[in-house]
Symmetry: C2
């Protein structure tokens, strides 16, 4: 029985996979911005014009020439002639001369000649046609200048940025209604195993329903890919090779979950080696769960052999497949959010191995969370259903102690 003689740490394994993948640009497609939420920009976006396009007041008050207010105070107000009110949504039809002021609302356009706005609360109107200024303002005070948000031609969004709520707003502000985004990464998903039947089928004794095709498809969808399921393939080299070859020609990457027995795991490696060069580049990762994971590259596309057991397959999907999809989308790396929590029990771990434990986060004292590990054999999918986080035990630790503060990745 061939064993995993050269188990690589997961980060090293992933880095080795990347070294064998070509540095290709993602394929781009054009989408309406209103349908692009969550997608990744395939090109930089430049501002076609400045924002704002006219000087705007940022407060309710009086547009003035700042120089007219110098020295003004409550005891010694400056008296300015009121010449009108700036309408919302239109340019004022008057200009401001020295000694004049105009009522203006937040967002209103400054009249020509004005260079600052005095907030309403620092003014007084005692006599018709006149306003008292109780506080001096500086040139530009309470004014948003032309181009203060963005200048014309400025790169306002960079290639690889995800389109979030703010990007949607920024694009609309500039009148940009369609964008070039990375096409969804097409991921072929293949299940193998003579014991595996489709979920719609009632399993006979000895059979189990296919879980991995569906958890991995969901993961692919979640992280920006488009899953294509190739069904369940029996444990025969030729059958798997044929389906994998088709998937590889139709997709950007391929996932194969092994049957649960050792012989089918070896078959996955053989199939990957038969599909193209260099074939298998990592055979076994020093992690739990997920040791039997195989990473391959065939003619420029990743082919990943995941363990057959559903928890291993999904956890390694989070660790390896999700970042790979984002990389193929050209997505800029962003910080991974975590939840800090206090561990409820001691957790053992083997030095040199990276462990990922499913945990349940519970409300603790003082708004603190407690991380309660879920114990259970690793092929029980409902241990992950009960979990809302994964706790990493780094390779240099020999375990974690109850009461320790740990960082939990939400799943």
């Amino acid at each position: 029985m061939p064993e995993f003689l050269h188990l690589l740490p997961p980060r090293e394994a992933y880095a080795r996979l990347l070294r064998h993948l070509p540095d290709a640009e993602p394929v781009a497609e054009t989408l309406d911005v209103v349908h692009a939420l969550g997608r990744v920009l395939a090109e930089d976006v430049r501002a076609p014009h400045p924002l704002p396009e006219f000087p705007r007041s940022s407060v309710d008050g009086y547009a003035v020439r700042a120089a007219d207010t110098y020295g003004a105070s409550e005891s010694l107000p400056a008296y300015l002639t009121l010449v009108g009110e700036v309408p919302m949504g239109a340019a004022p039809e008057f200009a401001l001369a020295a000694g004049q002021a105009a009522l203006i609302h937040t967002g209103g356009m400054l009249p020509e000649g004005a260079d600052a706005v005095v907030m309403l609360e620092y003014t007084q109107t005692a006599r018709e046609g006149e306003v008292e200024i109780l506080r001096a303002v500086a040139d530009g005070e309470n004014v948003i200048r032309v181009g203060e948000d963005v200048a014309e031609g400025q790169v306002v969004m960079r290639k690889g940025s995800p389109i979030r709520e703010a990007e949607v707003g920024g694009l609309m502000a500039l009148g940009v209604e369609s964008v070039r985004v990375a096409r969804k990464v097409r991921v072929g998903v293949i299940s193998t195993g003579d014991e595996v039947v489709p979920p719609s089928q009632r399993p006979a004794p000895g059979q189990v329903r296919d879980i991995n095709s569906y958890t991995l498809s969901a993961l692919v969808e979640h992280y920006g890919g488009e899953a294509r399921r190739y069904g369940i393939v029996p444990d025969r080299f030729e059958a798997l090779r044929e389906v994998a070859e088709r998937a590889l020609s139709e997709c950007d990457m391929v996932l194969i979950t092994a049957g649960s027995s050792a012989s089918t795991r070896d078959m996955t490696a053989e199939v990957i080696n038969s599909l193209g060069k260099p074939g298998v580049v990592v055979h076994g990762i020093n992690t739990r769960p997920g040791k039997p994971t195989i990473l391959g590259v065939c003619d420029g596309k990743a082919v990943i052999g995941l363990p057959g057991n559903p928890v291993s397959a999904l956890v390694n999907g989070y660790m390896l497949v999700a970042p790979l999809i984002e990389r193929l989308l050209g997505k800029r790396p962003r910080p991974r959010p975590t939840v800090r929590a206090r561990l409820t029990v001691n957790l053992p771990s083997q030095a040199g191995r990276e462990d990922w434990w499913p945990v349940r986060l519970l409300d603790g004292e003082d708004g603190e969370y407690r991380a309660d590990p879920i114990f259970g054999k690793s092929n029980l999918i409902f241990t992950l259903v009960a979990a809302n986080g994964l706790l990493r035990i780094p390779p240099d630790a020999t375990g974690l102690s109850a009461g320790e503060v740990v960082e939990v990745m939400l799943i």
Copy 2:
């Protein structure tokens, strides 16, 4: 000019809103599980049968009767008669008698009579038809018992749980191919302001494009709602009242973003009061940005008046609208993930007010992040485009110091 005399802290404001909302069950609909990723369960799910349905081996090895291995060691092996191999995907056609063993693969079904599995590495096969057991196993060792993952009839997923990858897998494992989920919350989105024009239109001097309809629609979609845009309404009471009334009748909640001037903010409150009882329940929140936010309830539905400025509207969308949508979906609260980072500069704050600062997370030393606040007037949408997080300054702080470790909510 009416001011905000009773500014509530944001949590208190939100709690007050909830007190006025009825405790209604979400409307449910039936969906195929493969299309239900991200949706929220509207009913508990029970296991129609146990999992696994037959005792399975969790390793590659030999199925045995544990009693036959007691006392076995490398120096004194137990010798068992090999009676066959368990096929994958079928029930073994033989039973195990005392003194017998059968080759079994991970996931294989235990033959009748067997109660444990000895791992391959603790066995030896020197003579045909015989296997040497080098280590004793306990009853049940390396076996997944019937119902060990879930028992028949057990509640395996609770109402209000989001459907993640693991739930998809668990449902498939049980042959459950469709589920009852909460229908998407319908959220009406109304923009107001005489100065606001649709993004497709080139703004004349004094006009700006509608941003809020689109950022808020994206936010609604992101958090599990379905946005219905009612367009841009001019700053007239009757016009706004008419559109808001229609939106309220067609949706589960309504968002109105005010024009930027004070008078239109007051109009939003008047419209909310005219739509149903109790009307406005919170007028102004002690937070920055977002002070002029109005929370209302009209005949059992929330109507939220958000500030017209796009940054305030979106930040308060994250803080108030997102949790409200999740509540209407019946979604169980889950921990909010954050990123810990070291603040790069001092940040001032007013005691008693809760501030949310847009920050850019930068890679720092030792894998630590630095949180770099983005300074800019709060109505510049591109300050949020440049940000990837929001930093909360709690009401009891009078600011934060450079070098402090802070928690940043990713946006």
